[in-house]
Amino acid sequence: RSRSKSKRISGFDMAPPQSALLPGVTPPTGQLLGTTPTVPGLF
């Protein structure tokens, strides 16, 4: 097959995003979280 000339990159060793790879890792201090935690009864 001539298609191999335009071979795309293999999916092997394509690591998941860092956040998915290390679920226990906390974001560095000072980094803003995307959402503000909602506390019931507080404004």
Binding site: S10, G11, F12, D13, M14, P16, P17
Partner: protein
């Protein structure tokens, strides 16, 4: 099935669990964005995956057969069965694939008792 299949400690066949993901895995014929998928694109996607696998697995030994479950049901979904000529080649592939990733997902690899795919049913 609900059976607990025992894994052999050595076998010429490896099972790569849930490795192939169809682009229309959520709804048949439709991609994750709700757009219809061209059947030819589906075929190409599958062939690319097959090619990736074949290339990688050939590094570890002679491949007797390479079966990819291109199904949508929960059972065996996306399972890949690869049979090498020799048990040692399968063992080598297992050692080299364990702990690696494919397309952002971990590769789950084990020996499989299947040696004849025509006879491969639950017992």
């Amino acid at each position: 099935c609900s059976r607990l299949h025992t894994k052999p400690s050595i076998s010429p066949t490896l099972l790569l669990s849930n490795m192939y993901q169809r682009p229309d895995m959520i709804t048949p014929g439709v991609d994750a964005q709700g757009q219809p998928i061209d059947p030819q694109k589906m075929q190409e996607h599958f062939e690319d995956f097959y090619e990736d696998l074949f290339e990688e697995l050939s590094k570890y030994g002679e491949i007797e057969s390479l079966n990819i479950c291109d199904n949508l049901a929960d059972h065996m979904v996306g399972n890949v069965y690869v049979q090498f000529r020799e048990e040692e080649q399968a063992a080598n592939a297992l050692k080299n694939l364990t702990g690696r990733f494919y397309a952002g997902r971990p590769i789950i690899v084990d020996f499989s008792p299947v040696t004849d795919f025509r006879e491969a049913t639950c017992r």
